[in-house]
Subunit: 374 residues, 5 copies
């Protein structure tokens, strides 16, 4: 059985039925019940609230009308809630569909009053279990709404930075929050790549020491992870680039400087993925060559032993033949039948010849280099 | 025999004779008799009609002069009918040829008063039998004419949506109908990819459990399907892009928003196909490595058993030689001939040596790791 | 010997000596004596003439001064004739060199008063023998001059279409004739691809039924043909594109509509070639995997039989040893020497043990799945 | 154990924690204590100073206010120092982060008052030990600040050239110094490539002479080095190109002429890397083919010897059977039991037949070409 | 030992030390002493001179002030001479460095008063020995200076054409001479490709007839030559393109027409190289498949013979066992011990069973198709 089965990464097409109306909202299979946090802040103040329905959000939006808000929704299991957000904040239904259809490619779309971005959120825990979920964000004039599939605390660092009053995140508007979210996602890619890098080295070590079959399985697993990461990172780069080039005022000039930094990181990630893919291929070549070398070694042992003993066994067989020295009925001597057997030193000569043949063969193999090349 | 033979996918060039006049209409081999449906609708009313010849169509066109019409033709087996459509609706003969030559690449062409698009309609039933037929559509001022090769109900979802009076399909003009048709075709691609994804996982499972030769056949079959899908999806994407960029008023601005959504789906399809191709390649590598591992295992068993017994058999052969202890004629003793045989414990020593040699060899193999690495 | 040797396709560089003056005209090796046809036509009249020298041509050019002419030259074996054409019709000598140097890449060049195009004419007879020759065409104000290397009737269809007075070929000027010639060449590519497609399917069938070595040879042959076709079709596409974009009035607007059609066909050809190359690679993978499977099968049979009998033969060898039950000279009994041989049921036990060992081994192989996985 | 283990080249992602604030400065793991040199020069004078803290630098900056300065910092182990530089010379904190995060891709960024460039400094000592560290440089109006990770004297040549009063480096401003630094880095690439080229030839020689397994390891090691170099050289080229196209006045026109030369060198490096990669692949193919040839040779020896002796041993075995010439109890003769054994010349005929069989087999192998094709 | 060793093609990086001043002139290792020719010509007159130092040149430049000059320098072994040319004709020192550093990529650079071009001069003698040297050319107002590394007469054809007064080379200025030189270099590429094409066919023939190991070596040698040619031809094409697009008046409009012809030839060369590379790969696949087929054949022979005789030998071994018919001491009969041996027709039955087993096995192999598929 495949030991990696449980953590096998699936690469899946988007779901939905043939001929569905565009903009149709479907709750993804197995989606979690939404959990909502809202952070409202300005230069001096930070108000937090948490809840299971939108009333929490809309109350706070009213109360802190002048603040900037980050509404963080974890879990997409409630289509009503998504539709309500769509209506209240006038979000296009194609966008809502994209949020709920959790197999999107990373992209950045501009709509008059808001911008919409989506990313693959690929996290990696200490046991190197990769999780591939969808992250979407809507940026409006004074608010950012982020949607995650899981309850994992993937943006803890960011939430901490919100506590510092003078940090850029408190001062550079909702576009910066959006940048910071995507930047964190990119940081997660580095975490995954770091693990992959470590595993590649580990695999290489195992190849040199003991080329087991599991090397192949593990490399295939890594390759699949790299395919996943590449599928996510190329459009991620394009998305960041689109954000840098956008004319929307929601992404201001200072934020764009930071986005250029994120863009560099994306390019680095793509670079690393390509290098790791090459190293994977290299490892497989190495593994196969080790396996084939081992096969050669086995063959060589088989050949040397067989080839030495086969002629000797033949000689022994010949002198084991029962050609009779005399007719059993008449006792007439048959002197042509194996006279060697009746020589005083026949056995000694025979053994001598065998030793000689064996030595000659060893010499032949040694000359061919079959011993030194093991 | 190849078990996949019946559903083998053919990739075929276009037909026709060398030096044929461009615009020559030929009925494709095995084409079905046309079956015609016409839907005439406006915001409030929907009139349907069905028939085998064009009179149904032209009657309804006259009766419902202010409606928008969708004329759906299934089966291309009648060149007269196509020519009549060409004449009555003044369609260029090169377009008619493209409709009838069922090996087109997806494309979108603009002609003054109408636009023409063609797609590969790749459907996939529950047994994963892929069907690759051609779908063409002509969009005019107040009508859409679609041409399919088969009678399959591939656009059921769309026909249902037509029943809802206020849906976009009733309000956004013939360009939207054209979009909806192509969008449905793209949905069909996802269905096929979904099946392929499932099969790839299934194949991988089979490789880990029992690397049979059928894995190779099935993977080749999938690869061929992926080649087909890629050949269809790249130009499909370009086609959608051409439609987004067209200056023709037949594709209005609202429809273009939807087309951008379809474009994203196309890109996703291409992405998936490339990923699936990589996974296919990966599976084949894995399969070959499993096969070669099994070969190694077989060789190892052969080698261990042979190499252990060959020297022992030689020893047994030696002591089976008949060098005589005495001359058979004179009975003169020949004490140099195999005195071991006449030792009181010769046999015991001999067996002891054999056991020793066998154990030493086992030790050698164990040191080489031939047991643990099975 | 290679059975495909006779029809092996050569991919050759252009000929000529180092340091030759550009514009030097050389008769290609083995070139045929020119045979000249001239078709002079207008809307109502078609005059044909045929001959071996240019006087035929120039007479008719004079007589039918108002007609459009198609001068069709088969065979390039006469440099004087080419030079005379050059002088009389004022054709650049670099163009004449290109016509005579029969290893050109397809291209389209504009010169003030004429345009020049060249193509690879790749034909394919019913036995799938590919012929790769050069086709060049010069288009002037009121005439088209085409040059072919062979006497084959590759443009029969076209010559027939010339007989119909109202066909486009009679009305759309020399540019259309040029288009029609290139379109016919493209049709020939489809013929070749059709044959290749059939052969690929045939090869695949043979792989499944009986993976013979000839599969490899035939696939390599196909691959070479595909390399040839690809080398021809990519620049062919560029050439057609250049013709569509030309500002020369020799290619008029109506012809360009038809050229766009030819362009689509070119793209289709390139697509098919790439798909066929992938299928070729796939077939080779399949073939190699079949060969390696067969090797495994052979090894398995060898291993099972050897491994079962080797220990048994060893046992038989042991009991064939001649350790004596008594000293031959003194007749002193040696009871430790192979007492088994003198047991009343020694032989029965021995055979029983052999059967047991054999069965245990079969069980071991069965558990390893060596029987079911054949 | 892998003999290359110690010098294995790591390809690592950048470090840092998920969700870190951009611009956060972290001392890289194992970073060395900074060592600072400052060169202040004008056309006529050159002042040098050296020290462990920044006071040396700022003193000299004050003293030689009209000079151009090159501040060379080796070792990044002190974040305070970097922060102080940032504050005193007003360097953006994103730039400071890039300097300290030692896994940057080569890039060139312009900021109003300064430009920033970073490179991979890949050096190679005589034992072909590759070192991959980061080199960063900031160019301001009258100064260049360079940051290296190690204490190695990688720019000795450049420091010597500074001593010559009329050399371009003394006259063409800080931009030229920056160019000269990058040019030296590019020279280091040539050193590494020179070593790789030598090793590739060495490996090839070893393949022809004695295809040992270490060939595979060494080629993989080279491949990894080439992956590293390629990862560094492509963005290096882009960086140089960005410098050529910059509008910043810090890089003047004369320097750009030199940069074009450096650009050519970069392209040459990329070219060489690609060629070397191809040669690597070629070497691996050759090695694998040698290994498989050797395997074939071993198999051939095994087969020839086995196949010759197996039937002979069988014959010997047959005549070693003990079918009795007479019933042991009744002494009734059993004349059908192996009468050959009691023929006067049975043994001679038997040996004759064995020799014949052996010769026939040798003939068969000779006809198959198994001897000549070794 | 590698038989191709002597003509192995090296792909080398440029030389020089780390940190060298740009523009430093170094005599390449093993460079020849310069030999100088000067051709001064106008429409009517051609003056030749030859010598070892520059005085010859400068004398003639003075004497024939109105002529166009072609100064042809063979051998780069004298840095003084190059420096003198630089000073007298005011050539930039970076250009002089490029001339002397003989590992340049082909390129074309414009400097105010002169243009500079460099190419790889890849010649090929009748024994297919490839020589890769550098060719540089400087074009000034009324002169062309060409630099070659060797004394070979690579431009004989060109020198002959200079003798014809009315040829274009005498009339179209120094730019045309430069074109003619590069065109000759391109002709040399065709010579090399012609040889490679012939060798590829030869190799293919050898694969079909007798797949020897040398096939692999020779193909690798060709591949390396193709890598070299590709490295030279791609930038050669770019160089020609740069010359076509230059605004420098040194390359006049008529010359550009000829350059377009040269450009076409370059594209053809690149095309051919790619095709030849594919054919090389195809040949290696074919070779490996032949080798593996031969291996299979060997295995099949081994298996058939072994598997037939192993059970038979076992049977012979069984009946060679010495289970006694009677206790040797007491002479008590042991009737259960191998009674077959004392059957009147035991031997006949035994041989019959052996023959039967052998035939059954042959039948089994025949059914598996092991005979027909050889």
């Amino acid at each position: 059985m495949n030991p990696n089965k449980l953590k096998r990464i699936k690469i899946q097409p988007r779901t939905g039925n043939v001929g569905d109306r565009p903009g149709m909202i479907r709750v993804p299979e197995g989606a979690l019940k939404p959990h909502i946090k809202i952070y409202s802040y300005n230069n001096t103040e930070l108000v937090k609230a948490e809840g299971e329905d939108l009333s929490t959000v809309f109350n706070q939006l009213k109360e802190c009308g002048e603040h900037t808000h980050w509404i963080k929704i974890n879990g997409l299991g409630d289509d009503k809630l998504i539709e309500e957000i769509g209506e209240r904040l006038s979000i296009n239904e194609l966008v809502l569909e994209d949020i709920m259809n959790t197999h999107q490619r990373p992209k950045f779309d501009e709509y008059g009053e808001f911008v919409f971005g989506t990313s693959r959120l690929i996290t990696c825990d200490d046991n190197c279990v990769i999780t591939n979920s969808q992250f979407s964000v809507i940026v409006k004039d004074n608010m950012v709404i982020s949607f995650e599939e899981t309850y994992e605390e993937n943006f803890e660092g960011l939430e901490k930075r919100l506590n510092t009053p003078k940090s850029p995140i408190r001062n550079l508007g909702p576009g910066y929050v959006c940048y910071a979210l995507f930047d964190t996602i990119i940081d997660w890619y580095f975490v995954a790549l770091n693990q992959i890098g470590g595993q590649l080295e580990d695999i290489e070590e195992r190849i040199y020491q003991n080329a087991e079959r599991s090397v192949m399985f593990d490399t295939q697993h890594l390759k699949r992870t790299l395919i996943l990461l590449r599928r996510a990172s190329w459009p991620e780069r394009d998305k960041i680039n689109d954000m840098i080039r956008t004319e929307s005022t929601l992404i201001n000039k200072e934020t764009k400087t930071y986005l250029r930094d994120a863009y560099d990181h994306c390019v680095q990630i793509i670079d690393l993925i390509e290098s790791y893919k090459e190293i994977s291929a290299t490892n497989i070549d190495l593994y196969l060559s080790m396996v084939s070398n081992r096969m050669n070694e086995i063959m060589k042992v088989l050949t040397i032993i067989s080839v030495i003993f086969i002629p000797l066994t033949f000689v022994a067989g010949v002198y084991g033949m029962n050609f009779a020295p005399a007719d059993p009925l008449t006792n007439r001597p048959l002197p042509a039948n194996m006279p060697e057997l009746y020589e005083p030193h026949g056995y000694v000569y025979c053994v001598g010849i065998m030793v000689l043949v064996g030595l000659l063969q060893l010499l032949f193999f040694w000359r061919k280099g079959w011993f030194t090349r093991l």
